[in-house]
């Protein structure tokens, strides 16, 4: 990545897709993501949301941190880094992983792509180069940031396979969830993975930055056949909560940036025990996690449905109306497909168990006047929304 002296003139840089998104942006509603200017809403939030759930939504993922990990010791290194047993990962496959510090607290999560025998890409929520390099001591491995050298585009929604097929991606319908394939689209080499952060059918396309605009145009060229919308971060926030996906740094504090003791979280506390394989052999944080696993849980990031229709932003949770405070909402959305208030909440456990009853105190405004409402909450163990077509191979054709 080549950064010139004049970079200060533009606090937020443009991604390789920026020109196209700017042309579609009716709202000019931009925000920063990893130093890039990205859309919160491109045109209309509900349109972008329903594009994911009913048609096809396209979102610029370029700012996501991407690390290339290569070398003879790459597998060994990654196995030591992440909590999950990745022995079944093969070239052409992706898996979800988290990694912890020595105290067994979550540093970040991400998707691990195996691109070749000794070649991996790790996509992360936060800046990880420092930790990845620190962890590389003693391993025959080469690590570099490729965030700014690879443009990434998410194409998500029930018609995404049909859209991409029409755009020129061949045999895409054979790609299984978490699979990776190298394809050509109108002469552009594109790496396609069947991955996403929406909980719907979807793909992520990885290209050289110089091919980004041509790729965008190839996808949007089929707009005459299918309804396609550029999507911003606000719609993504709605669908990722529906899918029950968590975001380190937003739903809980990441370990290495935590200042106050006890404000970081273990995988068990954020509901990610399922990606911790304590029996896989040694990995960073295992000793602490073994100890924690033998104790009753202290708290848990939990999916809850909040009764009623009052908008939820920040809210405290109680064990009964006007009772003891037992937790707090970390993120929430009204789900247009489920017609329900969905939230992820950090809840204190008693003897390792969540309280039997949960009530949320909701402060909300009506015509600038504040009101308070009490709403009962119901714990969910499964994703709030998980359609069958998400994992079908081949996906339904349109």
């Amino acid at each position: 990545m080549n950064i010139g002296h004049e970079h200060f003139r533009r606090a937020l840089q443009h991604t390789p897709f920026h020109d196209r998104i700017a042309a579609l942006s009716a709202t000019e509603d931009w925000t920063g993501w990893n130093g890039y200017k990205v859309a919160r809403v491109v045109d209309k939030l509900s349109t972008e949301y329903f594009a994911v759930r009913s048609g096809c939504a396209v979102m610029d993922l370029t700012p996501m941190e991407k690390y290339r990990i290569t070398g003879n010791g790459a597998r060994e290194y990654l196995d030591r880094l992440v909590t999950r047993n990745i022995s079944k990962l093969r070239p052409g496959r992706v898996t979800y992983v988290i990694w912890c510090n020595d105290e067994g607290k979550v540093i970040d999560d991400g998707t691990l792509f195996q691109l070749g025998e000794y070649d991996y890409r790790l996509c992360a929520q936060h800046h990880q180069l420092d930790w990845l390099l620190m962890s590389a001591t003693g391993f025959d491995v080469h690590i570099e940031t490729e965030t700014h050298d690879v443009a990434a585009l998410a194409v998500q929604g029930p018609t995404s396979c049909s859209v991409l097929t029409a755009a020129g991606f061949d045999k895409l319908d054979q790609l299984k969830p978490f699979g990776i394939v190298d394809l050509q689209c109108k002469g552009i080499p594109v790496t396609v993975s069947r991955t996403g952060f929406t909980g719907d059918l979807g793909y992520e396309l990885w290209v050289k930055p110089e091919d980004a605009l041509n790729l965008w145009d190839a996808v949007f060229d089929v707009r005459g056949l299918y309804d396609i919308h550029a999507m911003g971060l606000d719609a993504l926030e709605m669908v990722r909560i529906e899918a029950g996906f968590i975001m380190p740094g937003f739903d809980f504090n990441t370990a290495e940036s935590t200042i106050r003791n006890g404000h970081d979280r273990s995988p068990f506390e954020v509901g990610l025990g399922w990606v911790v394989n304590l029996d896989k052999g040694h990995f960073t944080g295992r000793k602490a996690l073994l100890a924690e696993n033998s104790r009753p849980a202290r708290r848990r990031l939990t999916k809850i449905v909040i009764d009623g229709n009052k908008p939820v932003r920040e809210a405290f949770l109680y064990d009964r109306k006007n009772g003891e405070q037992v937790g707090e909402v970390k993120c929430a959305t009204w789900s247009p497909v489920l017609k329900a208030n969905l939230a992820l909440a950090d809840i204190d456990c008693v003897n390792g168990k969540l309280p039997p009853k949960l009530w949320a105190r909701l402060d909300y405004q009506r015509e600038l006047k504040w009101h308070t409402a009490w709403a009962e909450c119901h714990v969910q163990s499964k994703p709030f929304y998980n359609p069958e077509h998400r994992s079908a191979t081949p996906p339904p054709r349109f």
Binding site: R9, A11, G35, D130, I259, R260
Partner: protein, 541 residues
């Protein structure tokens, strides 16, 4: 013998910011307070003077961050005219024509780190979190009287327990790290995070300001924290300009003091603190005039207080010994420059915001250490570390429109070069600094209209800081917390009854915090059984 008609409850010696803070809280409690000041102006090291027609210099201290917002609030300093404008960038020029800028915008700051080292950009997150954690811990103790760990009095036991409780709020591994931090050099500490030479040099600079230590000397890591623990409106680590110069800080304090009925006498230098029967009775001025008071508070540094304005025969011998050996080494110089226009810096693109903040010219740890080597040999650094600011870019009250005022803090400058200081040597020292800046700014020399050059000689002679040490004593662990200024005397009470200390020689030390003055006022009011007018610390959590 002349005897003043006035009989004061309290006389505070020295109208620096801590003397004024102390006096203001005592006056607020209804005491009859007089501040005596040897100079014809108030402020001590927080003064702003017009030495060149139309330009106002902050002659000594030049930026404001550590001044406690609680004091600001409790003395209503905003209504007495104080405004602190945050400045949030800093930069280091490199010898190869490049530079490193720590920009105010976090995205730009990160990208600039990436421009120098991808890894360091990520390590900066860990560094910031760690420094913030130590800041949060330290800030708990700034507006509290240090406990005497050897005492069994309930209050000491309580304060010591508070200290340990805050300490134990860190996790086990962080406790170890904190102890390491306290004993490390800044260079070694930063090497735990950063690899880039320029970035290392940039973040090291603040740790040697005002100290007789080098970047590789143990203890300098803490000095970095001492400079980072302040904030401007919640921006931790940010420094700010007091509008009107640092004299605005002392001006607002003086105004608050007077609003509470306190008095200030300038051109009134104290020759002796009068003691009778192990109890202070007042002070004698150099004019021979004696002023009586129940309580005498010294805002002078501990060495000056006990070796110059008190009779050694009035003091415990061990204390005199401690005072003589108090580590208060002069190591800094200062230039204040009136400029005919805004200087340009060759390597900065036009419109770069980096001239708005701190500018430095030392781009390697080796150069920083060599600057220190010169000082150890009683020479001023031939390649000094300079902290340069041009506050007139923000503050219209400092220079005429289109003209500018530059403040240059210089590390290192010896207490006395071989053969002692002369005006000629002082000017040579100034020229060394001007030449360094001119290496990066071709039009700089031509813009100079006037320069005030201050070596430790001038700082001591004018402000009365022993050896010109800006902190009234080194900020090393042997002289911090319950060891500041000396073990057994950290609670602001002097060795004779009714005598107190309120200067930066006492906890929590220098840096224009006002905290020593407020803490001393609290102890005095406690001894007098008066209601406490000093503020409790704001809590972050």
């Amino acid at each position: 013998m002349l005897l003043s008609a006035n009989n004061y409850d309290v006389i505070v010696i020295g109208a620096g910011h801590n003397g004024l803070t102390n006096a203001a809280f005592l006056a607020k409690a209804g005491l009859h307070v007089l501040v005596v000041e040897k100079n014809s102006y108030t402020g001590g090291a927080t003064a702003s003077r017009e030495l060149y027609d139309g330009w106002k210099y902050s002659n000594s201290s030049y930026v404001c961050s550590l001044f406690r917002p609680e004091i600001y609030n409790a003395l209503d300093l905003g209504r007495h005219g104080l405004k602190v404008i945050p400045l949030t960038s800093s930069m280091t020029f490199k010898q190869d024509g490049d530079y490193f800028g720590s920009y105010h915008n976090p995205n730009v700051r990160r990208r600039e780190l990436m421009r120098h080292s991808m890894r360091d950009a990520d390590a900066a997150i860990r560094f910031d979190a760690d420094i913030m954690r130590w800041c949060k811990l330290i800030r708990n103790f700034l507006l509290r009287t240090p406990p005497d760990p050897g005492s069994f009095r309930p209050r000491d036991a309580f304060e010591f327990a508070y200290l340990m409780k805050k300490f134990h709020e860190l996790s086990e591994s962080k406790i170890y790290e904190f102890i390491r931090f306290f004993t490390m050099s800044i260079a070694e500490y930063l090497e735990n995070y950063f690899e880039n030479e320029t970035i290392l040099a940039h973040y090291s600079g603040g740790s040697i300001i005002g100290t007789g230590l080098g970047v590789y000397s143990p203890g300098t890591a803490y000095v970095a924290l001492h400079h980072a623990m302040g904030d401007v409106d919640g921006n931790i680590g940010a420094w700010g300009f007091a509008r009107g110069g640092m004299g605005a800080v002392s001006g607002a304090l003086a105004s608050a003091l007077q609003a509470h009925g306190g008095e200030i006498r300038t051109d009134a230098e104290v020759a002796k603190i009068l003691v009778s029967g192990n109890r202070t009775t007042g002070v004698r001025l150099t004019s021979g005039e004696e002023l009586s008071a129940k309580i005498v508070v010294s805002n002078l540094d501990a060495k000056r207080t006990f070796t110059q304005i008190m009779d050694e025969s009035d003091l415990p011998p061990k204390l005199v010994e401690r005072a003589r050996n108090f580590k208060i080494r002069g190591s800094s110089g200062k230039l204040n420059i009136a400029l005919d226009g805004m200087p340009t810096f060759s390597s900065l693109p036009k419109g770069s915001p980096l001239t708005l903040g701190h500018m430095h010219f030392t781009d390697t740890l080796t150069r920083l250490e060599k600057a220190y080597d010169d000082w150890k040999d009683d020479r001023w650094s031939t390649d000094p570390y300079c902290d340069v600011l041009i506050p007139s870019q923000y503050d219209p009250s400092l220079a005429p429109p289109g003209k500018h005022m530059m403040t240059v803090f210089v590390q290192y400058c010896p207490v006395a070069p071989e053969g002692g200081w002369s005006d000629d040597k002082r000017d040579q020292f100034g020229q060394t600094v001007i030449d360094q800046i001119a290496d990066y700014s071709p039009d700089f020399k031509n813009l100079i209209l006037h320069a005030e050059i201050r070596t430790p000689r001038e700082l001591e002679a004018e402000i009365g800081l022993t050896e010109g040490n800006i902190f009234q004593g080194e900020l090393t662990f042997d002289q911090l917390l319950f060891n500041r200024p000396f073990p057994g005397y950290a609670q602001y009470r002097g060795p004779v009854r009714n005598m107190y200390m309120c200067g930066s020689s006492t906890h929590p030390g220098g840096g224009v915090m006002g905290a020593p003055g407020a803490n001393a006022a609290r102890e005095i009011l406690r001894d007098l059984k008066k209601p406490d007018t000093t503020p409790a610390a704001f809590s972050d959590d």
